[in-house]
Symmetry: C2
Subunit: 289 residues, 2 copies
């Protein structure tokens, strides 16, 4: 049970946490802090938060938990603003898609109080954005990864774990580096590959004709190329090292495939496609996607 939860950035991600906790009946008061007073008013009108505040000191006084759910580029500024007023028993967590960079920055800014910070990453889709898209069920049966550091207070980890469990999520813990490696492979690389394909097609003189004949396979493959450019620039730069190593591995695989095609190695192509389709369909079955 939380007496006071403060959410920085009451959009889809933060708003859905608020709604889930309200539905679960386990938070007395939820305070929203954000750049847009209009959007905070909407959050109040929709019953997502109880109170909006533009005064950070007032907002975080006596807070059990602070959730930073803004675009990740704002995290350093928010931590700097929080730091002077941060009580010893207030836990901070975030919802960013990369974790090594967030942990480094939290360590630098929070100093000894870094033990109160728990990095977090809810793996939940976000076709739409903004508080009007928030829903109490966004995290139900979804994965949330926490990336505590050796210095992190175990009680802080427990509090954040309970927050996400109350939202219906499956919570796991791993080092930030492991997290960033996994998501470079299964999320960040696919996004870059999709952006690259669409950009390449769109740059052709006959782009209109090409798009005219693109169908459902292209639609699904490129859906993530419709994602937010600023967010993906930040994720790419934040996870640069892991992502570069993923791109290199993928380039090697693609060269191998190209070579088989050049040599008309039908058996080799068939074996690769077969391995991929078995793996992909098996995965979709277990995931019930």
């Amino acid at each position: 049970m939380l007496n006071k939860l403060v959410i920085f950035g009451v959009g889809l991600i933060g708003g859905s946490v608020a709604l889930a906790l309200k539905k679960a009946g386990c938070t007395a008061q939820i305070v929203g802090v954000g750049r847009s007073s209009e959007s905070l008013q909407t959050a109040i009108d929709l019953g997502v938060i109880d109170l909006a505040s533009s005064n950070i000191k007032d907002a975080i006084t006596e807070a059990d938990l602070i959730l930073i759910a803004t675009p990740v580029a704002q995290t350093p500024a928010i931590l700097n603003a929080i730091k002077p007023h941060l009580a010893a028993n207030t836990v901070i967590t975030d919802a960013g898609s990369t974790k090594n960079d967030v942990l480094s920055c939290a360590k630098e800014i929070l100093g000894e109080q870094f033990s109160q910070f728990v990095g977090g990453h809810p793996i939940a889709g976000a076709e739409k954005s903004g508080v009007t898209a928030a829903t109490a069920d966004l995290y139900r049966n979804k994965n949330v990864v926490l990336t505590p550091a050796p210095a992190t207070n175990p009680l802080a980890i427990r509090r954040v774990r309970e927050l996400w469990q109350a939202c219906g999520a499956h919570v796991s813990e791993m080092p930030a580096e492991t997290h960033d490696g996994i998501f470079a492979a299964v999320s960040h690389l696919p996004h870059l590959l999709a952006f690259a394909l669409v950009d390449e097609v769109a740059s052709r003189p006959n782009a209109e004709q090409l798009f005219g004949f693109a169908a459902s396979g292209f639609r699904d493959f490129t859906r993530i190329a419709g994602s937010h450019p600023e967010m993906w620039r930040d994720i790419s730069l934040a996870n640069k090292a892991a992502l570069l190593s993923e791109i290199t591995a993928y380039q090697k695989e693609l060269s191998h495939l190209k070579q088989m095609l050049e040599q008309e190695d039908g058996d080799g192509l068939h074996a690769l496609f077969e391995r991929a389709s078995v793996a992909r369909n098996g995965w979709a079955k277990t995931k019930k996607l």
Copy 2:
């Protein structure tokens, strides 16, 4: 109005043509020819075809139109079997995903009667396969590309065009080479990229962990990696030249992206992602996908 339509391969593709024509009431008799008598019986039971035949001569006698809708690797054998019994006023068309190879093979096998052959490619999704998945609406508002050669009889083209229009499709015509170039870019390359990603991830020692955290972005990006390995081996080999040139162009784009990431060129990355997301979302809007 067709008096007699013969369909080789009464699966999703051929069966859906049959159902659409029956619904439109514009074919007197539909005869199915196939390797599996069981599947042909199902087609009769479902009212997809009127008659099944294993005798090619009987089947194609007095046919106005023959549609080859088998896996594309069977096309040469079928054309060879048809040739000795082919009347001068029977038109042949196909539904294969590549067209240069089919046209070459038809030219070689049919000789002077090549003028009766019209290459075709219906662009319609095929999550499921087999005649039980066939539906009268599969081609409604979908694109069908015809690839007549200079030698093709204009009356043959018109007959095939009318067939697909009766199915509710938008029919366009272009040279086989143009067709193969377009689909290398918007269909064949994305398939290979998706196969490559899944194969690369599945080959890792921690594949299970990686798949465990893969979510909806990965799901959509890799959906086409669940496609039929044999079919995609054949398409890749058949469209080798165009596909190799697409892979090369994509490798160049990916190297460029990688270089921007190495140099931490945030503006460059943002510009690329922005171009891609604007193009992709604009396309999805026009396509109403």
